[in-house]
């Protein structure tokens, strides 16, 4: 288990290193930042001065080394738009996104897995068919549409919940549920099919032959086996949540990281974009690392390999 852990950790660190390189290159390829920082009326002298200030006149590899050096020391530069350290700007926004994301993920996982098991156990019944229909609908409706409809119904017509913004738990309900729809449906479908496959396995048949109670067969044996692909998919879906968050945060004016990224792209606030992307990448890599560890806990075949 320890060598398995170390192996995964090494892979994660190498990936993070690769990401810094990609982020750095992508930022250089997106055009000359200097022109977005100076006035349109600025002369050549002013442009050159700005370039020198930002070290952009140095060779590219030196720029990269100084960039990695800064990042390693926690210095992500200053936001051009807010004129504050990027770390501060991102930190306050990321809290909001984590709040939204975790709420949505909790809903998606708990509902998705329970509905999936229910559908599998009642295969072919009305419940099963209803759950599957719902899943297809949830996966085919775009976030922004669900969000707008939710605002229309629950905020404008019924007046149960606030339309947008953040602060109270009521503010969280609609964006979290909107964000949860897609991953919930995906998790439900894979739980259902994985559970069905497991319940048909030979070892489940042998458990029945041994005379074990159905509840033991389903909850102790079948579920644990069925969860292996569900864990893999949940990791991916948590990553996808970040993508969905950009849209949902915009629809509900939720002051999170997604919202910040959109603003920063519009205003070409490249230190924020660069750090934001790096942040998201580190988050996803950490997530993958955790998913791998969960696999190791569930499955001895991975642990002992």
């Amino acid at each position: 288990m320890v060598s398995f852990f170390l192996h995964r950790l090494r892979l994660a660190l190498i990936t993070i290193f690769g990401v810094t390189l990609l982020v750095f290159i992508a930022a250089r390829l997106s055009g000359d930042v200097v022109y977005t920082l100076v006035d349109a009326s600025a002369g050549q002298e002013e442009i050159d001065k700005m370039r020198r200030q930002l070290d952009l006149d140095k060779p590219v590899w030196l720029q990269y080394i100084s960039y990695v050096g800064h990042v390693a020391r926690g210095d992500f530069g200053r936001s051009i738009r807010y004129q504050r350290p990027v770390v501060e700007v991102i930190a306050e926004r990321i809290q909001k996104t984590v709040q939204l994301g975790l709420a949505a993920f909790a809903v998606a996982v708990s509902l998705g897995i329970s509905l999936g098991i229910l559908a599998a156990r009642t295969r072919g019944s009305l419940i099963d068919r209803a759950a599957r229909t719902l899943a297809v609908l949830a996966q085919s409706m775009p976030h922004f549409w669900i969000g707008i409809m939710a605002i229309l119904i629950f905020a404008v017509i019924l007046r149960w919940l606030p339309t947008s913004g953040s602060g109270t738990w009521q503010h969280l309900v609609m964006p979290a549920l909107t964000l949860a729809t897609f991953p919930m449906a995906a998790i439900m479908r894979i739980t259902r099919s994985s559970m069905l496959e497991t319940l048909d396995a030979e070892y489940v048949k042998f458990l029945r032959v041994k005379g074990l109670a159905e509840r033991l067969i389903v909850w102790k044996h079948a579920l644990r086996n069925a969860l292996i692909p569900v864990v893999a998919l949940s990791g991916i879906q948590l990553g996808n949540l970040l993508g969905g968050a950009v849209i949902v945060e915009t629809v509900f004016s939720w002051p999170g990281l997604g919202n910040l990224m959109v603003e920063s792209i519009v205003s070409r606030d490249y230190p924020v974009i660069q750090s934001g992307v790096l942040m998201i990448a580190v988050f996803l890599i950490t997530l993958n690392f955790l998913v791998d560890l969960v696999f190791g806990v569930i499955d001895p075949r991975i642990r002992y390999n």
């Binding site: 396995a201 030979e202 070892y203 048949k205 042998f206 458990l207 029945r208 032959v209 041994k210 005379g211 074990l212 109670a213 033991l216 044996h221 644990r224 086996n225 569930i298 499955d299 001895p300 075949r301 002992y304």
Partner: protein, 337 residues
């Protein structure tokens, strides 16, 4: 089980068992078992022999009522120690499984849950049926593992299935099957490509288990050689029916049903050694044609289309089971006597 039956008493009696599988929403009815009857005495070994689609595996699953999806028992009785398993409540039947009737499935490599230690999986029937736990349970499991010939059972207890060889897993599955001291063990023969050494070890294991506990054994197989090696009595199945029932020696020496005779003649490589490749033109005897479609059985004898002895009567009327001697019968209009 504290029954009053004697050592030679009847343990299992199957009467007119009928089982069908309803596929395509009931549009296709696969008639898997069609009126099968047989009797098994305590401590004896019965071989159920047939090719794929003969209903041999479906028969064994019907006894434990572990039916595949869409399958229903349409008639008949399965009397185990006098109790009819067909009409037993699911709860009560579950108490029979693993405790009084055990079964070994075809492939030991996939018969165990990959996520749990093998010791725990051998322990499960004891926990469920006899309420054992703690150190006593652990000690009993280690004893069982040793009894089925697993070296160093204490250290094997904590291993996972993927850490063991096929032969070891076969023994683990055997240990789980006999853990509660069942009176009947049903062994479904491995059909996947199998080394002769592993197959021989498996048959040895079955024999050992039987000698150790005195249980009655039903062996499901496609190979007459398995019957010759292991069984007291044999049922040859064809299209869900018993073509012939006989003590093993009678079956090999005086087979009455043309299907049994054909099967015996197709066994390759079991001729006199000097026959081998002496005559380059020598060919193996074959049974021409294909087994019938169980969803569209012909009206008469199901073997008639492939039978050299068949006439008009065979093609229109189902032959009854004709008794030829004690314990020997054949479902044929023209049995060899």
């Amino acid at each position: 089980m504290g029954g009053t039956s004697t050592k030679d008493g009847v343990l299992l009696e199957v009467r007119d068992l009928e089982m069908s599988i309803f596929a395509d929403g009931g549009n296709r009815i696969v008639r898997a078992v069609n009126g099968l009857s047989f009797t098994l005495r305590r401590g004896r070994t019965m071989g159920i022999i047939g090719e794929s689609g003969s209903g041999k595996s479906m028969t064994s699953l019907s006894i434990l009522r572990l039916l595949p999806r869409g399958a229903r028992i349409l008639g008949g009785q399965v009397l185990f120690d006098g109790r009819d398993l067909v009409s037993l409540a699911e709860r009560d039947l579950r108490r029979m499984r693993g405790r009084h009737i055990a079964m070994i499935l075809q492939d030991p490599m996939v018969s165990l849950d990959p996520l749990y230690r093998v010791g725990d999986q051998v322990a499960e029937p004891l926990r469920t049926h006899q309420g054992m736990g703690g150190d006593a349970l652990r000690a009993r499991v280690i004893e069982l593992l040793g009894a089925v010939g697993i070296p160093a059972p204490e250290s094997r207890f904590n291993q996972y299935p993927h850490q063991m060889s096929g032969g070891m897993l076969q023994r683990i599955v055997g240990a789980a099957a006999i853990s509660c001291g069942p009176e009947l063990l049903i062994a479904d023969e491995p059909t996947t490509a199998l080394d002769p050494t592993v197959q021989a070890q498996y048959l040895d294991l079955l024999e050992e288990l039987q000698q150790r506990t005195g249980l009655a054994l039903i062996v499901i197989t496609h190979d007459l050689g398995v019957a010759a090696r292991l069984c007291d009595d044999v049922i040859v199945m064809y299209a869900g029916r018993a073509a012939e029932k006989a003590p093993v020696r009678t079956l090999f020496e005086r087979p009455a049903h043309p299907y049994t005779q054909a099967l015996l003649s197709t066994l390759p490589g079991r001729r006199a050694p000097d026959d081998i490749k002496v005559d380059a033109h020598k060919r193996l005897p074959t049974i021409e044609g294909q087994p019938p479609d169980l969803a569209a059985l012909p009206p008469g004898c199901p073997f008639a289309p492939r039978c050299p002895r068949a006439d008009a009567k065979c093609r229109t009327e189902m032959p009854p089971e004709v008794s030829l001697a004690t314990d020997h019968s054949a479902a044929c209009w023209y049995p060899t006597t």
